[in-house]
Symmetry: C2
């Protein structure tokens, strides 16, 4: 391979690149790919326990939707894609893992016009947040920004990655985007607040519609009032609780934003209640599929 930069890969794992499953250490794309030339592509990511992919149909539907928004054709039909995913899971044989599907603009003759999309599927061991993070909650900062195509899961994280250092310097864990004080999402997570009357609110505009967000909204509606709608920075400071949701983090309590405490400055009862319900829902999805398969 024409590179002297070390590969940060587990040599025992396999990846799918277009038509083949290959050792991940041999998974390459030619430099004419439009992701390399123009950052053009989409992806999605879901959690796997042994052989079970959680909420797979939801993730595949979103992947499909992102591809359509970017005018990219997924080279495999849904059933063929599921077959490849199952083969990869069987071959890698991991306990807790995440699977990432990336679809790029393909090999481009002129470095600008899309070609036939390249599909990559990788699987990596995966760890949930630490118990300490769940117990004490996290600190976040804010940044004024709206993603270019908020409803598509594009690979463009230019702004998010540039902010990594500022997050570290602030001893924070993540950065919440807003526009003129109206908040939207984190680079890779959705955002919720719990109002003083226990109403659960999550932004609707300028956000990627997370699968965990959808599940948490569903769970919240069973016990509380839950709405999708505008959330301002002022709303956050007046809120009782706040938390983020994501595939890899489930529900993570947020206790501080830009050095100000939210509520009591400790993880709240509604947040922890929803986290317990989400874990139960994941169990149910897992058990349901074991019976069905």
């Amino acid at each position: 391979m024409p590179t002297n930069n070390q590969l940060p890969v587990n040599k025992d794992l396999f990846a799918f690149v277009n038509s083949q499953i290959v050792p991940v250490s041999e998974a390459y794309l030619h430099i004419s790919d439009l992701a390399i030339q123009r950052g053009y592509g989409i992806f999605d990511f879901f959690k796997v326990n042994n052989e079970h992919a959680y909420f797979l149909d939801d993730y595949l539907k979103r992947f499909d939707n992102s591809a359509a928004q970017m005018q990219l054709n997924i080279p495999l039909a849904p059933e063929a894609l599921k077959t490849v995913i199952r083969e990869l899971i069987a071959k890698n044989n991991l306990v807790e893992s995440g699977i990432k599907m990336i679809l790029t603009g393909g090999y481009s003759a002129d470095g600008y016009q899309p070609g036939t999309p390249n599909l990559i599927i990788t699987q990596q061991p995966f760890s949930l947040p630490t118990q300490a993070q769940y117990n004490t909650g996290i600190k976040i900062i804010t940044h004024e920004y709206v993603r270019e195509l908020p409803t598509a899961k594009t690979i463009n994280y230019t702004i998010g990655i540039r902010l990594i250092q500022r997050i570290k310097d602030s001893l924070a864990e993540d950065v919440l985007y807003h526009q003129e004080g109206i908040v939207s999402e984190f680079p890779r997570c959705n955002f919720f607040i719990v109002k003083q009357d226990n109403t659960v609110v999550t932004p609707l505009n300028n956000v990627l519609l997370g699968i965990t967000r959808k599940n948490v909204l569903h769970l919240a509606k069973e016990k509380y009032k839950a709405v999708e709608g505008p959330v301002t920075l002022t709303d956050i400071f007046a809120a009782k609780e706040a938390f983020l949701t994501s595939t890899t983090k489930r529900i993570l309590p947020i206790v501080q934003i830009d050095d100000k405490n939210i509520g009591t400055g400790k993880p709240g009862a509604v947040t922890l209640n929803l986290l317990a319900d989400l874990i139960a829902l994941e169990e149910k999805d897992w058990v349901g599929k074991q019976v069905a398969e």
Copy 2:
């Protein structure tokens, strides 16, 4: 190589990938690269005639500036980079060509944190616009958008590439970005108007500072009044002439915008005068370097 998608490359050409010059058909990046994972990278592009790279120091300076804005270290010192460029030019032995340098976020262990940047340099034959395009001028459309980091030449062209089909459907050649009617730039070119009093104006804010833009401003100042400042859509419709500038297109007259004529609807005298001056300036740069080398 683990792919069945055909490579759109000239098998006789060579590319530089990190430490090596290799046949371009063997120039690959591992899928853990942050350009593929997160669209994170920068690039630059300059024109070459035989062994001469036009205005090379200007392009290298801009590449350096883009890298700094994206917190990426160029793995080669300026002189070493020039040596590699010279080696590549000698090996490919083309008459008229363009050289593209791409610097990515490197191989990332977790698909999010940058690694050691990967540097790619490619060279391809290159053709100027047709004489017909210079003679008749082009039609453009408009779109409301500002690039995320306008002063850095990042690889993020998500919006530009999504607009390719709309440009074609409109029988246009390019799309001009504006925000609330204040225009900035094209995806890959700068924009100029010539007012009724022959003042040449180009937007200053939210633009990539093109090298051809800089050269044209310099040339315009020798004959006309030339300023950098706000240009609105209304200004364009009141203008006598309009044109775009870029490394690959030099100066291209614009005669129609969103189906409305600009000026007489034909390439204007100031535009064509500046084009002649630009060609002469390129000659001078070429001759100057032949003497110096």
